[in-house]
């Protein structure tokens, strides 16, 4: 450190960290694809007080919210292989559980985690759309699915979008914890590069910048989308 920052390493490692972006994005997108519909449906069970499912969603949310993501990763990453091993053994599947790409565990952890957050996001957003509009939709002859697709969901999305954006950004940042299961994402790649010459400060600055750029970009895209969605509200608010 006495020699100051190693600028060459700083620049080189920036691109090493950048090469982890696709993995972080794939995990984010897959998790959102699973969590968005699941979170919406479970939020509906909460709003409509569907017996059993409502209760399940409530407990599920408290479990996930009440535990650190890193612990959830440790639990999934250590317990699922054990489970798989016993299944493989029972059905004589010739496969080594430790050859499974850790990205699969990341999909599981982060979609479970994001689902819980989105349940709460959609629950509050759904309650801002009056039930009367649903009744009006029925009364003009729309089916349940049509009413939700055309009337309720578009309005719910507008309200939920800022929170979905926050959840997405949090998710991108949380993928950095993937290093704990040797996932080749941004943080791990930069840290491995730093190990060689102990250039940790440079590596951390690179990681910092990559996440900052990535998250700002995502926020910007969300803003554009929100602007498009809330045309109908532009006038009075």
């Amino acid at each position: 450190m006495s020699e100051g920052l190693n600028y060459q390493f700083l620049v080189d490692t920036f691109f090493v960290a950048l090469s982890g972006v696709p993995i972080a994005l794939i995990i984010t997108i897959v998790s959102l694809l699973i969590a968005l519909p699941l979170g919406f449906l479970l939020a509906l069970t909460r709003i409509n007080r569907i017996p059993v499912l409502n209760r399940f969603a409530q407990i599920y949310v408290s479990f996930v919210r009440g535990t650190p993501v890193i612990i959830q990763i440790f639990i999934i990453y250590s317990s699922v292989p054990l489970l798989l091993a016993s299944i493989f053994e029972k059905y004589n599947i010739n496969m080594n559980v430790y050859d499974v790409n850790p990205i699969w565990y990341a999909f599981i952890v982060f979609s479970l985690n994001t689902t819980a957050i989105l349940i709460e996001v959609f629950r509050s957003a759904l309650s801002t759309v009056s039930k009367g509009q649903l009744e009006a939709a029925y009364s003009v002859g729309l089916t349940n699915v049509q009413a939700f697709r055309r009337i309720i969901i578009p309005q719910t999305l507008v309200v939920a979008l800022p929170n979905i954006c926050t959840a997405t950004v949090n998710l991108i940042k949380a993928t950095s914890l993937g290093y704990a299961m040797s996932l080749q994402e941004i943080t791990l790649r930069a840290k491995v590069a730093a190990n060689v010459g102990y250039n940790y400060v440079e590596a951390y600055i690179d990681i910092f910048l990559v996440y900052l750029i990535l998250c700002s970009l995502v926020e910007y895209l969300f803003k554009l989308y929100e602007k498009r969605l809330r045309r109908y509200k532009a006038v009075n608010v």
Partner: protein
Amino acid sequence: MMLEITNIHKSFGNNEILKGVDLQIDKGDVVVILGPSGSGKTTLLRCINFLEKADQGHAIFGDIDVNLKTASKKQIHEIRQKVAFVFQNYNLFNNKTALENVTEGLIIGRKVAKDEAIEIGKKALDKVGLAEKYHAYPSELSGGQQQRVGIARAVALNPDIILFDEPTSALDPELVGEVLTVMKNIANEGTTMLVVTHEMSFAKDVANRVIFMDAGVVVEEGTPKDIFVNPKEERTKKFLKRVLPEDYIFYI
């Protein structure tokens, strides 16, 4: 007989709201239901359109004969094609323009071709005096204008009957008139209407039949003159005394 309801019952928990109501409506009738709040007027309307499921009761809508409790999804859908509803709180689709509010049910619910639906929708909005507001969103409209869109939405469906659930109760007093005028106009065109309202003048001037409900039963029904001038039942007299001004003189 266009609509015949028999022995409709509905409870919310231990609270029995409707205790066996019968109702007959002929084509072209304008029937007004009066009654104190909590008497079950709104619930009756909502049960007719299956927004609430009745605990018991039977209905004949033209050629559809249906048990109000066990009606199938298909039957409910068929009946909703014949019955339109105007809500107290307008319940416009906030993400749709006035015109889209009116055409939504036509295009999606009834599979009318888009061009034709827009034609019908514009006519309906013209009729309620909103020719300038086709492309306005509900948030850009006053309460009275929103309710007129609500009425246009019902009229455009060309239903056999329109149910009005206290259409002016949520409005500023100064906006009530424009909505009542629109309702009078469509009544004069021969639209069959069942109206829950507290507007006595509307009942007097437009209705051909008035029903007085209290505590979940029909207490008395007759022409506006029967009810307002010569009420027979004690409960009707008491109610009218409360809602009509001291010096109210009833002209027919």
